[in-house]
């Protein structure tokens, strides 16, 4: 597919926004520019015919990371105390710029000298996909062929949550994290948080469900569900749940535990660790994906909310 005006404009926009993110004077313009950059990047992913990746980049890379960074920028507004105090002389800056240009040229050389025809695993992926009962090869790769990677990724998410929680002061352990918004009582936001989440939950569940045959999947649907929950917390219609709550911890751990359980079940039943039996593969995959989506919808808001700052209620 030859390059068109759309591709050139997208590339120019993305590069401008990335330059603004890196070089802007002031943190808040840089964060806003990063959010816009993430959304335009997802358009480039659509042009690369990777629609699942585009959905994930828009939802998690642009959306949830944007919420996290905007919250961080507002909390760190007076953070001159954190900036390192060394001064970069112009010759050093030029040297660093030369290093980065060299890196770019090396990567561009790699891009331009990729082998033709390029090696690919697409034929193998598509050929065995009927056995898993799925129609979307990316979902098949994520849940069936490379299920071990996905399970470890869920474990990484749980570890990140544990890491964030461990930053709490001792007296706050088990309490609720800071509310994602510091002020209360915006009528507009309350209206929005009462109107949007029902539709958002439906859309999230649909995107998760349709990921078996079309672009979509557990990560994208789970990110939309997480966004709905974050809107409710931001509008102060509900507090961020206490980290010591039993259902919260069950929801967080359900994804990796179910995944690991299915894997061990496969090991016991001599199909092989994390292998699925022919004929019963799709129900097992959907079962695992449901708990994955639940886990992601619980993990992302807890990661954005941060460590608890209020003592738990006795």
């Amino acid at each position: 597919m030859i390059v068109q005006t759309l591709d050139i404009s997208l590339a120019a926009l993305v590069l401008t926004l990335a330059g603004w993110t890196v070089l802007a004077h002031g943190t808040f313009p840089a964060v806003v520019s990063y959010v816009a950059y993430g959304l335009l990047l997802s358009l480039i992913w659509v042009r690369l015919f990777a629609v699942d990746v585009a959905l994930t980049e828009a939802a998690i890379g642009g959306g949830v990371t944007g919420v996290l960074l905007i919250g961080a920028a507002s909390k760190l507004r007076n953070a001159a105390l954190l900036a390192t105090e060394r001064e970069l002389t112009p010759p050093l800056r030029w040297a660093i710029a030369a290093l980065c240009v060299f890196t770019t040229l090396a990567l561009a050389r790699v891009v331009l000298s990729l082998p033709d025809p390029s090696p690919t695993l697409a034929p193998e992926a598509v050929q065995d996909i009927a056995a898993t009962g799925l129609g979307n090869p990316v979902t098949a790769v994520l849940i069936a062929y490379r299920a071990f990677d996905t399970m470890l990724e869920k474990c990484v998410l749980v570890l990140a949550v544990v890491g964030v929680w461990s930053l709490a002061s001792d007296q706050y352990w088990g309490g609720t994290p800071s509310a994602l918004r510091a002020v209360t009582g915006y009528g507009t936001l309350t209206f929005f948080a009462q109107l949007l989440p029902p539709f958002g939950i439906l859309i999230g569940i649909r995107i998760f469900w349709v990921g078996a045959d079309e672009p979509g999947g557990a990560f994208q649907g789970g990110a939309i569900l997480a966004a709905m929950w974050m809107i409710i917390i931001m509008a102060r219609l509900a507090d961020a749940p206490a980290i010591g709550g039993r259902w919260m911890r069950i929801a967080l751990a359900a994804g990796p535990i179910v995944f690991l359980g299915v894997g061990i079940l496969g090991f016991i039943a001599t199909w092989g660790f994390l292998a699925y039996p022919a004929g019963f593969a799709k129900p097992l995959i959907i079962f695992v994906e449901i708990f994955m989506t639940l886990s992601i919808a619980a993990t992302l808001p807890m990661l954005v909310a941060g460590p608890p700052i209020r003592a738990p209620r006795p």
């Binding site: 961080a72 105390l81 105090e85 290093l99 890196t103 891009v111 964030v164």
Partner: protein, 114 residues
């Protein structure tokens, strides 16, 4: 030049930009932003490899796409942990006074009830 090649070159430039921002910027939050730009540039390189692997009816090789999806989620988790560390560090330094006082010299007045 195809669309995929242009995207790959964009990814290369993004990686260079992100690396520059990561080294140059004094503010840690700007460094996290630059790190994310660097990461998404590297993911675009995966994207061109996936697109060029189109074969057998799939418009793009699904294995690099799955790797990128995993990468985006893990990058978000790392960013969240880094931001939580930053906010906590800021809380401590604003209480103590500055980064130098927190890291190096002790003040001897019991400022260690972390």
């Amino acid at each position: 030049m195809s669309a995929a090649t242009l995207a790959g070159l964009t990814g290369a430039v993004l990686a260079g930009l992100g690396l520059y921002g990561l080294i140059i910027q004094p503010d840690p939050l700007r460094r996290i932003l630059a790190f994310n730009v660097l990461g998404s540039g590297v993911f675009l390189l995966f994207g061109i490899i996936a697109r060029r692997g189109a074969a057998a009816g799939a418009l793009a090789d699904p294995v690099p796409q799955a790797l990128v999806i995993t990468g985006i989620v893990v990058a978000f988790a790392a960013t969240a942990l880094a931001v939580a560390l930053l906010v906590r560090l800021f809380g401590e330094t604003s209480r103590v006074g500055s980064l130098a006082e927190l890291s190096g010299q002790t003040r001897g007045d019991g400022a260690d009830d972390l």
